[in-house]
């Protein structure tokens, strides 16, 4: 029982000052389907990158800790070495060349070669590829996953669902493969395809291949996994056989917060009297990777409203849709008036301001000064900070400087001065600049997305405090979208959980961890969906 295939011990990984993995442990036995669970950013992908010897890890200074493979310490510092050891990966985004055939993709860089004169002279590279053999190998590997596909089909003419199976075929075609990592394999599959996949996983495990199964679907975990390991914030929460746990317990383990103190608030809850500050009806946003399908939300005046959910479920797109950055359908009401044909200009004029989750993209002009960053939105939307000379305008440097200095002081932006470029600021200070820009529009409603991502703890605290202060003193309505549930729960009045592009439920900040966990995993709507299916079936 003690023979582990893979042991990762005391793994610690830092990106700069940011610790993403702390003393992490993972033990995988042969024949085992080992589920890895955790919220986004819990450190799962970093751990897998370490396992695969990805360049990201080594370009950023390596990691601490030890990896044992079949009981022996190993150095997996390139993907090649991991592959040679027998570790395979079924990627979340398909690692396929669309212009190649299925066979060529399955055998990529492992092409069977013919013996020929040129090969003898020029080595492996000048050997001619044995395309017939390639086809046979590919067919065999496809057969193993139960796929009946023509191996000469071009990859880009294949439906998405099938690509997953080609990926798996490729991994099991590597004859020495002993461990396979499945990174959210069922995310893009239909219910029935997912079932096929789970069956294949079981079959593979039975044949002796260990499987690491990364997923957010608890029901699938309960169905196929032998062992569950739960991560949270880069630390190990627990690892146990599936028989000794339950869906509820896992959900609780994933969420369980080191509850920071809730921020002291004099009044809370917002104004119950209509009209609402912001209302969405059947709201859909077409943002790749974060689509929302049908969102209905009512945000009260003067309330702090939270949007939570796992990555990819759509929470990010709501604010982006409201601001007109991504195309949307459905109805949007601000202070009771409907906004049709949403454009950023209209929304900004209506008194909304946005701090984007994409700080370095949408959020900042990195090669520009702090003062420029702060003033530009108001200059565009409200024509502030300008001297008007009739035919032409000039930026009013004096006022821009004065306003920037004020903001630097109130938000405690650590910088050498208002003319410093934002690229040179730390993450926290960059975020403060973004907030300052939003505030220079003097908004009634402030939408903030992922405000504390990649920020040190001190700055986090200060930012959240400031948001609460704005809400309390100026009565500003604030909508926070965040992946950090604990943080939302410490400041929000109500929190909507987004799952599969819809609102799974709206919870009070002091609702139980279990409830949060189950809703984040979409437990209710999946259960409901299934019971409906069974009824109809």
């Amino acid at each position: 029982m003690d023979t582990y295939l893979l042991e990762m011990k005391h793994i610690t990984k830092k990106y700069g000052e940011n610790t993403v993995l702390k003393d992490m442990e993972l033990h995988v036995k042969p024949h085992e389907i080992h589920a890895l669970l955790g919220e986004n950013g819990a450190g799962k992908s970093t751990l897998m990158n370490i396992l695969f010897g990805m360049p990201v890890i080594y370009d950023s200074g390596g990691f601490e800790g030890e990896i044992l493979w079949e009981g022996k310490p190993v150095q997996l510092d390139t993907p090649m070495k991991a592959m040679e050891a027998g570790i395979g990966m079924v990627h979340q985004e398909f690692m396929m060349i669309p212009g190649f055939t299925i066979a060529e993709n399955i055998k990529l860089n492992r092409e069977p070669l013919k013996k020929s004169l040129s090969g003898k002279l020029g080595g492996k590279y000048l050997s001619v590829i044995d395309f017939d053999q390639m086809g046979r190998d590919a067919r065999e590997a496809l057969g193993q996953v139960g796929m009946d596909l023509d191996e000469n089909t071009l990859m880009d003419s294949l439906p998405v669902g099938h690509m997953q199976f080609v990926e798996i075929s490729r991994e099991i075609d590597k004859k020495n493969v002993k461990l396979l990592v499945f990174d959210e394999p069922t995310a893009v599959l239909t219910e029935s395809e997912a079932q096929v996949l789970l069956d294949i996983m079981k079959k593979l495990a039975a044949s002796g291949i260990a499987i690491i199964f990364i997923t957010h679907r608890l029901d699938e975990v309960m169905k196929v996994a032998d062992q569950v390991t739960v991560f949270r914030d880069g630390e190990l929460v627990g690892s146990m056989p599936i028989g000794e746990t339950s869906t509820e317990q896992i959900a609780e383990m994933m969420i369980g917060r080191k509850m920071g103190e809730p921020f002291a608030k004099e009044k809370s809850g917002g104004d119950d009297q209509a009209p609402f500050a912001l209302e969405l009806r059947n709201f859909r946003v077409d943002m790749p990777g974060e689509r929302t399908k049908n969102v209905n939300i009512q945000v009260k005046k003067g309330e702090i409203f939270g949007l939570a959910g796992l990555a990819g479920q759509g929470k990010i797109s709501i604010a982006n849709g409201i601001m007109g950055i991504y195309p949307s359908e459905g109805e949007l009401y601000i202070n009771g008036t409907q906004i049709e044909h949403i454009t950023p200009q209209k929304i900004l004029e209506k008194g909304c301001a946005f701090v984007s989750e994409d700080r370095k993209g949408t959020g900042l002009l990195l090669d520009n000064s702090i003062e420029e960053n702060i003033s530009v939105a108001a200059m565009k939307v409200q024509k502030k900070y300008l001297k008007n000379f009739g035919l032409f305008t000039q930026a009013d440097k004096g006022r821009i400087r004065k306003h920037a200095l004020e903001m630097i002081k109130t938000l405690d932006i650590r910088c050498t001065g208002p003319s410093q470029y934002t690229r040179r600021l730390s993450g926290g200070n960059q975020q403060k600049v973004c907030v300052a820009r939003a505030l220079s529009l003097e908004p009634d409603i402030l939408l903030v997305s992922e405000p504390t991502r990649g920020i040190d703890i001190g700055a986090k605290r200060l930012l959240m405090e400031y948001l609460v202060k704005l809400n309390q003193e100026k009565g500003m309505t604030i909508i926070i979208t965040s992946s950090e549930l604990a943080e939302l729960r410490s400041v929000c009045d109500r929190i909507a959980i987004i799952f599969d592009g819809k609102v799974e439920g709206i919870l009070a900040p002091d609702a139980s961890d279990k409830e949060y966990g189950l809703q984040m995993m979409g437990y209710y709507s999946r259960e409901k969906g299934r019971s409906v299916e069974e009824h109809e079936g």
Binding site: G99, L108, F131
Partner: protein
């Protein structure tokens, strides 16, 4: 059923679209020929010699396109390596076919080195390979001029004073090879076009027969069905060859025309060898890596292919072939503008490849061969067309330059638009 019909029609449409460019230029070439009023002998002679001079250089472009480096404008650097080799070979007093061989041998290590250096720089400028390769060509031109115009005779000793400027510094700006290097390859085997058609026709028919026999054997052994397209293609080729052979043998008028066209068979053999090489390399592991890297660098990296190294190798191949191509070209021309013979190489080769229906991401032997013939047919007669239409040969010359630049612009723009569409999706 309906659906397959539709999709078949669609693929046919795509196929036609692919040949749009080619069809357009065929029409243009034919029209240009008739308007120009050039005698058929002259026209055929122009095409024959221009084809054998330039096809090798155009074929040198294919590997980098497949490897995802785009149109390799830095073949001018390869051409410089060829010219350097020629200068030194001639200065050592070597003549005739040996001078060709020595030039080839001498140019190869130079071109390998240059290709390696270009590859290194292009790996640092991923996403901007084409403009970098072009500017690198200009930059190398400066260095080349510095060495051969200034260092030769001052720092580097040079044996042949006749090739140098009168003051003993630098190589003359124009060199004639009439009694040493000229025709060193061409003269190995050239014949008139009538004979050539006879030989080539017979060879082609023999090849067709062999291919058919092989297909039949395979059908008996493995049961692979014979594709109808193979039968059709063979039929058309055979009939064409027979017609051409008959013309060259029995039609007096045609015979008269063809007899007076000399055809450099040895250069053609070199071109065909490179075609075969290009065909073969993509069946090897290396060629497969070129394709993989060209289509998706990220996936190739994850699969363990050394992307940067593969790209450098692709450029080394291209640069070496460009050097050889320039040697083949210059031995046939027989004179060399020391400091500008390479300048137009990339422009003409790239334009020819694109006229043949290639794009920035897709090119093959077929595109190169068809492109060279069409492009140079137009190029050869456009001054006469200008005279015929506007009584001004200058216009024709400007027009053909415009055509070369224009086709490159259109190909680049089409590629960029397509890329942006893909990104949006």
């Amino acid at each position: 059923m309906h659906k397959t019909m539709k999709s078949r029609l669609k693929t046919m449409g795509v196929g036609l679209k692919q040949y749009n460019v080619v069809i357009f230029f065929i029409i243009l070439a034919v029209a240009a020929y008739f308007v120009s009023g050039v005698a058929p002998t002259v026209f055929l002679q122009e095409i024959a010699s221009r084809f054998c001079r330039n096809a090798f250089l155009v074929l040198a472009l294919i590997i980098p396109v497949i490897a995802g480096l785009g149109l390799n404008f830095s073949i001018v650097i390869g051409a410089m390596a060829g010219q350097m080799a020629i200068i030194h070979t001639v200065s050592w007093g070597i003549t005739g076919f040996p001078s060709f061989l020595v030039s080839i041998l001498l140019s190869t290590p130079l071109a390998v080195l240059f290709g390696f250096l270009v590859g290194k720089v292009l790996n640092k400028t991923k996403g901007n390979e084409m403009i970098t390769s072009m500017i690198l060509g200009y930059l190398a031109n400066g260095v080349y001029q510095f060495v051969y115009l200034y260092l030769i005779g001052t720092v580097i000793p040079f044996p042949d004073a006749a090739m140098m400027n009168d003051n003993g510094v630098g190589i003359k700006s124009s060199l004639g090879f009439a009694d040493n290097f000229k025709y060193s390859l061409t003269n190995v085997w050239n014949t008139n076009l009538a004979n050539f058609i006879l030989i080539a026709g017979v060879v082609v028919i023999l090849l067709v027969v062999v291919r058919l026999v092989l297909a039949v054997v395979r059908k008996k052994q493995k049961g692979t069905p014979i594709k109808p397209s193979l039968l059709l293609g063979s039929g058309i080729l055979t009939v064409l060859c027979v017609i051409l052979i008959c013309l060259s043998l029995f039609n007096e008028k045609a015979q008269f025309t063809l007899r007076f066209v000399t055809f450099p068979v040895s250069a053609l053999v070199c071109v065909l060898l490179l075609c075969l090489f290009n065909g073969w390399i993509f069946k090897t592991k290396l060629g497969h890596d070129f394709r993989a890297v060209g289509m998706n660098q990220q996936v190739a990296t994850v699969a363990g292919i050394n992307v940067d190294r593969t790209r450098i190798i692709a450029l080394i191949f291209s640069t070496v072939f460009a050097a050889w191509g320039q040697i083949i070209r210059l031995q046939d021309i027989g004179t060399m503008n020391t400091y500008s013979a390479h300048e137009q190489i990339a422009l003409l080769a790239v334009a020819a490849l694109l006229v043949g229906g290639a794009s920035v991401v897709k090119a093959g032997n077929k595109n190169a061969i068809i492109g060279v013939i069409l492009f140079h047919a137009i190029f050869a007669v456009s001054p006469q067309v200008g005279t015929a239409l506007f009584a001004d040969s200058q216009i024709g010359e400007y027009f053909r330059v415009f055509l070369a630049y224009g086709i490159i612009f259109v190909a680049l723009a089409m590629n960029a638009v397509q890329q942006n569409k893909m990104k949006k999706r």
